[in-house]
Assembly symmetry: D3
Homo-oligomer: 132 residues x 6
Amino acid sequence: MHQNSNVSINERYQRGWEKLREIDGEAGEKVIAALADIAPDFARYLIEFPFGDIYSRPQLDLKSREVAVVAALTALGNATPQLKVHIEAALNVGCTREEVTEVIMQMAVYAGFPAALNGLFAAKEVFAALDA
Amino acid sequence: MHQNSNVSINERYQRGWEKLREIDGEAGEKVIAALADIAPDFARYLIEFPFGDIYSRPQLDLKSREVAVVAALTALGNATPQLKVHIEAALNVGCTREEVTEVIMQMAVYAGFPAALNGLFAAKEVFAALDA
Amino acid sequence: MHQNSNVSINERYQRGWEKLREIDGEAGEKVIAALADIAPDFARYLIEFPFGDIYSRPQLDLKSREVAVVAALTALGNATPQLKVHIEAALNVGCTREEVTEVIMQMAVYAGFPAALNGLFAAKEVFAALDA
Amino acid sequence: MHQNSNVSINERYQRGWEKLREIDGEAGEKVIAALADIAPDFARYLIEFPFGDIYSRPQLDLKSREVAVVAALTALGNATPQLKVHIEAALNVGCTREEVTEVIMQMAVYAGFPAALNGLFAAKEVFAALDA
Amino acid sequence: MHQNSNVSINERYQRGWEKLREIDGEAGEKVIAALADIAPDFARYLIEFPFGDIYSRPQLDLKSREVAVVAALTALGNATPQLKVHIEAALNVGCTREEVTEVIMQMAVYAGFPAALNGLFAAKEVFAALDA
Amino acid sequence: MHQNSNVSINERYQRGWEKLREIDGEAGEKVIAALADIAPDFARYLIEFPFGDIYSRPQLDLKSREVAVVAALTALGNATPQLKVHIEAALNVGCTREEVTEVIMQMAVYAGFPAALNGLFAAKEVFAALDA
C-alpha cells in the first residue's frame, strides 16, 4: 500500500524532488537553492524524507496534508517563512483561499488568538503577493 | 455565508452544544461536566466560541477541521488529553484510522519525531479503548 | 456576579468593542481594521470573545489581567506584535513602566533569559514610541 | 530602590530561602529536598536567583508576581508540577481562588482552550488537596 | 566526507538499525517494537532518517550529539519519554552522569527553571533505574 | 569541585563578566549595553547567574555548553537574536562551522525541519558577517 521499499535511493530523491515541485513550486526550489552553500546534504534530506517519503504516501490526499501543515505551523507560531510557503502550497494542491483562512482562524481555539492573528497576516501577505 | 449574527445567545449556545456532541461525543460532554464545579462559565464559553462559532461555520468541512486539530495538538505536544478527544472526534466525523495515523506521522516533519511518536502512542491508546 | 447571559449579541459586541478601546486603544483598533479584507468574521470574534466575554468579567481587575498577558506573551516568545500591544495596554490600565519591566524580567525564571531579553527589548521600543 | 548589591552571598541565600518559604511554603521546600541527591548546587541557585534576587525585589507586589507566573505556566503548558506549586503560592500571597481561576481562564485567549483547560484541572486538584 | 549517497536502501536501513542499537540500546528497540501495530512504516523512517542518515554522519561525535539532544528535549519540555531515552543514550556514548546533569541545569538559563527541574527529575529516575 | 560559595558578590560579578567576554565577545557586551536604560539590574543578573554561576562551572567544557545552547535555541525557534550570538560563541570556544551546522541539522529530528532550516539560515548570516 505504501511506496516500494526496494526503490533505489536515486528514485527516492527523484520522487521527492517532483513532489516538492508539485506542492511547493518555486518557493520550495528557492529553499533548496538557499541551502546549497551552507548545508547541501540537508537540502538532500529535505527532498528525500519529507517529500520522497512522507508526502509521496498515498494514504492521505495532498489537500488534507496541507491543511495539517498550515494548522501546525500556525499553532507553533515560530516558523513564519515555512508557514507562508505552505499557505501557497495549500492553494497549489486545491485548497481555496477561504479554506486556508478558515484553518488559520480555527487555530485561535487551540493555540490562542495571537497565533491565529499572525497566521492570518501571513496569509494576507501571501495572497497579496499572488495578486501582484 | 456564515451563521447569522442576529441569532440569539441561546441559539448560539444550543448550536454549540449540538456541534460539540456531534464532534466530540461523550468525551466532550465529560469535559463540560468536569468544569462544573471549578469554572462553569468557562464550560459555557467552550460551548459557545469553539463549537457555536468556529465549528458551526460552513466554510470548512468537519473532516478537514479535525485533520487540522489533530495536526496542531500533535505538533504542540503539550495537550495530550485534548489530542485524544480529537483523535476520536476525527473518527466520529469520517476520518479513517489510517488517515489519522498519517496526519500524526506527518508531524515528524514539522515538529520533530518525539512529537509524532507521542501522538502515535496517543492514537494507539484511543484505538485500543474503542476496540475494547 | 458575571455578565448576564441573557444579554443580546449586539450588546456583547458593543461591550467588547468598548472594552477593546479602553484596554488596547488605537493599537487594538488597527488590528481590527487590518482584518477587514482577510477575515472580517475573525475581527468580530476577537471583539466578542476576548473582550466582550473575558475582559468584561469583573472577577479580576484589568491591571492584573494585563500583568497576566504580558507575562504569558513574554514567556511564549512567538507573538511580539501582540506583546507590544499589551505592554501599551498594561500602561493604559494603570501599570507603571517599572511594573511592566519587572513582570518581563521575572519571566527569565520561567521561560529563560532569551524570552525575557526579547520582552525587554519589545518594551524598550514601546516606551520609546510613546516618548516620541 | 533594589536590594543592596553589597549584600554578602550568605545574606542573598538566606533572603532567598525565607522568600521561598513565604511564597511556596512546604511545596517549595520539597522541591529543594528532591534536588539534594541529584543537583544540590541547582537547589542553591534556585534559592539564590529566583527567590533571593527576583522575588525579593520591591518593584512588584507578590500577588502580581504570582498572577504572572500562573499565567505564564498555564500558557506554556509543559510544567504542570510547577504550575500547581504556584497556584498554591498565589493563594499564599493573597489571591483568591476565583482570581486564580480567572487568570487561567484568560489564557484561553492567548494560548488556546487546551492550555486553559489543563490549567483549570490543575487548579481543581490543588483546591481539592487543600480542602482535604 | 559524508555517507556515500549511492548506498542502497537496505544498507541505509541496516546502518540505521545498528546506530540505533549503539546509541539507544534496548530503550530504542522498545520504541520500534511499540510502533509495529500502529505505524510500522514510521518505525522504518525512524531507523532510516534519524539514525541511518543523521547519527551516521561523521561530522560530529556521538557524545556531542547526545549533549545536543538532551539540551533540546529539556528545553522543549514536552517529550519526557524521549528525554529519558536520550539521557541513557548520553551515558551509552560516553557522557558522565555529572555531564548530563550539567547540560540539564544549564537549560535553566535558556528555557527557565521549570524546564530544568523537570529534566533533572527525569535524570534522577533514569539514574535510579540504572542502579536498580 | 564547583566555584567556592564563599566568594564575594563582586568576585561573582567579575567572574561572570570575564566569562561573558570570553564566550560571547563583543556581541555579549552589546546586549549588556542595550539593557542599560531599560533594565540595568537585569544586565547584572545576566552577568551573575548564567555567566558567573553556570558557565563558570568546571563540570562541562565550554564547547559542550555551546553545543547545548545552539541545539536548544534552534529547537525552541523563538529566540533568533540569541541563537546568532551563540552560533558565534560556539566558534569562539572551539567549535568548527561544520560542527555548528551539524548540531543545527540534527534538530530537524527533534523539533522539525522548519526549526532546523531557520537555524541554518541564522548560521549562514553569522558566517557571512564574520567573512565580511
